[in-house]
């Protein structure tokens, strides 16, 4: 690939944002910023897979990636720090679609992933050394994980059996991803015969970029976690115990509980000593995340239909444009609610 993986990932975001967000919004999605704005952006523009998957991203790295796209005429800088893909850019992105890590689900797994990996790699290392009859220094220093793994192995009894189960499950899971992804994942593992490789070492070995390797690795982890959650990887499911992600942020969860008890927005704001706008953020988050949550109590059907029609006609999700089109008769809150609910039904 000529343009670097950062450019590829950025191009993907630019396509989704369609010129409606600045580069900083891309930055917030990758770094997993827990603001109402970023959470909504991730939903509306269907960037959930990438949410929180590149924690140490820098604005400088994104700017460089954007420059590379512009230089190759794959993107244009419309306004300051806002970019859109050119026709050539669209084509280029389609051509390389296979490079997108298709199992990635940062929205759901970015928080659970580090602990899941720590457990998995430490169990792998421990079983390997038990099988080989060697002493070892654990490859993880996190006390929580050390304790957890110790308890887990004690509860499991036969090490040989467990090693066999782990082997079978890993082989089955890795067969479902690409050969390259399986190789990357395996090289990251530490055993009795080999300390795991760093991302950079794997990248050098495969002659790929470290960033690409990192995303491929994460892709495998997210796939394993998803398989665990649907019940197709029993051992991985055990490793996920206690890590299964919450759908809502904690604060929104509380608001949701009050709503279900029949409290009004005003009452909740009062009880929780929060600003009304914060409660509004929560309700938008709930609407976007809880299937079956009705927005009818907050926006009447006629208005909702008008907002939907305006958004479709204008082919935009810019709140301001929609509001102007409706002569300011609807509030931003109402527009955000309708759009949050509409996610997935139409895409550009």
């Amino acid at each position: 690939m000529r343009h670097g993986y950062a450019s590829f990932l950025l191009a993907h975001c630019l396509r989704r944002f369609n010129g409606e967000r600045m580069l900083a919004a891309v930055y917030h999605v990758f770094s997993g910023k827990k603001s109402a704005q970023t959470l909504q952006d991730s939903k509306w523009f269907q960037l959930e897979p990438l949410f929180g998957t590149w924690k140490n991203v820098t604005m400088a790295a994104l700017e460089e990636a954007a420059m590379a796209l512009v230089e190759q005429r794959l993107a244009l800088s419309a306004k300051q720090r806002t970019y859109t893909l050119t026709a050539a850019g669209e084509e280029w992105l389609d051509k390389h679609a296979a490079l997108f890590p298709r199992h990635l689900n940062g929205w759901r797994y970015h928080e659970a992933e580090p602990l899941f990996w720590q457990r998995l790699s430490l169990i792998g290392q421990t079983l390997s050394n038990l099988v080989h009859g060697r002493r070892f220094a654990p490859i993880c220093r996190d006390e929580r994980t050390l304790q957890w793994v110790k308890q887990y192995l004690l509860a499991k009894g036969s090490r040989q059996m467990l090693a066999k189960t782990l082997h079978q499950e890993l082989v089955r899971l890795l067969e479902a991803v690409s050969e390259e992804a399986a190789t990357i994942f395996t090289l990251r593992l530490t055993s009795a015969v080999r300390i795991g490789w760093t991302m950079e070492q794997i990248a050098a070995h495969l002659q790929k970029e470290a960033l690409y390797v990192q995303f491929q690795f994460r892709n495998v982890l997210h796939y394993m976690m998803a398989e665990a959650e649907v019940g197709r990887a029993p051992m991985m499911a055990e490793l996920m115990s206690g890590l299964a992600p919450a759908v809502l942020t904690q604060s929104a969860q509380k608001t949701y509980e009050w709503l279900r008890k029949g409290k009004t927005m005003e009452a909740i704001a009062e009880i929780r000593r929060l600003k009304r706008s914060t409660i509004e953020d929560h309700i938008v988050e709930i609407a976007a995340n809880v299937p079956g949550f009705s927005i009818a109590p907050f926006v009447d059907d006629e208005k909702a239909a008008a907002i939907r029609a305006a958004a479709q006609a204008l082919r935009t999700r810019k709140l301001k444009e929609i509001r102007e089109a409706l002569d300011g008769k609807v509030s931003y809150f109402e527009i955000r609610l309708v759009l949050a609910k509409e996610v997935g039904r139409w895409t550009s």
Partner: protein, 507 residues
């Protein structure tokens, strides 16, 4: 076999003591305060770990580095010791709240100096019978330690608060004035001193004077390619460490990786373990690498930039040749290095102007908490914050009350003076280092003199000034290739079923 040796064998599996250990252990068991300066890699930790099995109660070990603490806890656990616990942050305290209630059950209690500032933790400790108060890397206690750790300066008070149990201060490198500081701060006036020479006879010393940075880089690469590994190369900047690692890798110098504090914890641990297990030949690193890396057979330590002082240099080259076999330390030097290293060393110090602006912005008439809070303003590095917080606390004790305009002016004056004193001291240390580099007489002699010793007798192999041939340090003609990576199925099979068995599934 006497009782002590029996315990040594039973608990640690050693048939005899290493030089220096026995004397320290005996003094500790006799309940004396002890200052022990033993070279790194000489088994310093045994000096308190063995007594812990013979004394009643618990041993408290204060250690400056989380990674160091983790390594020691790990080693003890591997030997089957269950009664060991480590506290390194307030976060732990929450998690280990239950453990605090039953602290007396632990034989080894490790704690960072920051943890000891917690009143909750200290209260729990006071209910424990502490039979020995150990301070590891005790040179940090000195205000003039090269790694400024203000929380170390308060350890004397803490020891008193715990009923002044016998104290063992351990260090690898402490010149006489720092030794005095340690004894004074910890209040161990009648302490027995066991000072072992900083000289490591099996490490040959060499300085390469180069004409430019490019020349330096070229010669360093040349050395790294020719010398028998494994080896460590120190840099004062992350970029240089990374770039040189790549360069060495490309020119076939072997299996090379870099290591610095900018990497995430997992990648750092991987590199450290790879080096330990012989998967790497060379590590290009900053001074962040080395503490807790107990590798016996390091054959060379190179310095692309000189350290900021001789103490650091002695520590870093001391990671070579712990097995006693001939090893080599080479420092590369070019004009301009001194200025560069000085800039790195003084990065922790605010300029008078920055300090003045900061003081000016403090809210007039507020309390001292406001000044402490203002440290959290963005722009300060961690070490700058640590330094300023330390000075602030000191000033607060001296002049309690409110931050009036006058108090602010005085605060600025005193803090500026303190920073200036530290700057002068740093320059003096760098000057010392620089003089050593540009020495025309024996380097070994000068090195031990800096630590208040005299060299007795002549070494067969000494330094470039005494005449040094590098022939003995070259690479063996044949070096075994790195094990090739196999298909992931076979790798997984080897991992979980052991080598040597055929993998039916992969056929």
């Amino acid at each position: 076999m006497d009782e002590l040796t029996k315990t040594l064998y039973r608990r640690f599996g050693h048939a005899s003591f290493r030089p220096g250990q026995r004397e320290v252990v005996e003094d500790v068991l006799a309940g004396r305060d002890v200052l022990a300066m033993l070279p790194t890699g000489s088994g310093k930790s045994l000096c308190y770990q063995l007594p812990a099995y013979l004394l009643q109660g618990s041993v408290l070990i204060v250690s400056p580095l989380v990674s160091l603490m983790e390594d020691q806890v790990e080693q003890l656990r591997r030997r089957g010791e269950k009664r060991v616990i480590a506290f390194h942050s307030l976060l732990d305290a929450e998690e280990k709240w239950q453990a605090l209630a039953s602290l007396a059950e632990f034989r080894f209690i490790y704690a960072s100096p920051e943890m000891l500032q917690s009143a909750k933790f200290l209260t729990a400790l006071r209910r424990v019978c502490i039979s020995l108060f150990v301070v590891d890397e005790a040179h940090c206690i000195s205000q003039w330690g090269y790694d400024f750790r203000p929380d170390f300066l308060k350890l004397g008070e803490i020891r008193r608060a715990l009923g002044a149990p016998p104290c063992l201060a351990l260090t690898a490198t402490a010149p006489p004035e720092v030794q005095e500081d340690i004894i004074r701060t910890l209040g161990m006036d009648g302490a027995r001193r066991h000072i072992h020479s900083v000289d490591r006879p099996n490490i040959a010393l060499c300085v390469e004077h180069c004409s430019s940075t490019e020349d330096k880089a070229a010669r360093l690469v040349d050395y790294a390619k020719r010398l028998e590994g494994p080896g460590i190369i120190y840099f004062s900047s992350r970029q240089w460490a990374e770039e040189t690692a790549r360069r060495l890798d490309q020119c076939g110098a072997g299996r090379v990786a870099y290591y610095h504090a900018g990497m995430d914890g997992e990648q750092r641990l991987l590199v450290q373990q790879q080096f330990l297990y012989g998967q790497l030949d060379i590590v290009c690193c900053t001074s962040a690498f080395g503490m807790g890396v107990n590798k016996e057979n390091v054959r060379f330590v190179l310095h692309f930039h000189m350290p900021t002082q001789l103490e650091a240099y002695v520590q870093e080259i001391g990671r070579a040749g712990r097995d006693g076999a001939p090893s080599l330390a080479v420092l590369f030097y070019a004009d301009g290095d001194r200025a560069m290293v000085q800039a790195v060393a003084e990065a922790e110090l605010l300029s008078p102007r920055e300090l003045h602006n900061w003081c000016q912005r403090l809210p007039q008439g507020a309390g001292w908490e406001a000044a402490m809070a203002a440290l959290e303003a963005p722009g300060f590095t961690d070490i700058q914050k640590r330094l300023l917080a330390y000075f602030l606390e000191r000033e607060q004790r001296e002049m309690p009350g409110w931050l009036t305009a006058e108090a602010k002016g005085r605060l600025y004056g005193r803090m500026a003076a303190a920073i200036e004193a530290r700057r002068r001291w740093k320059r003096k240390k760098l000057q010392e280092m620089d003089e050593w580099v540009n020495l025309s007489s024996c380097r070994r002699q000068a090195l031990v003199r800096a630590f208040g010793e005299e060299l007795t007798g002549r070494r067969d192999v000494c330094c470039d000034r005494c005449g040094l041939s590098l022939d003995g340090y070259g690479r063996a003609v044949h070096r075994p290739e790195a094990a090739p990576v196999r298909h992931w199925r076979e790798e997984l099979w080897d991992m979980l079923f052991g080598e040597g068995r055929t993998n039916e599934a992969a056929k």
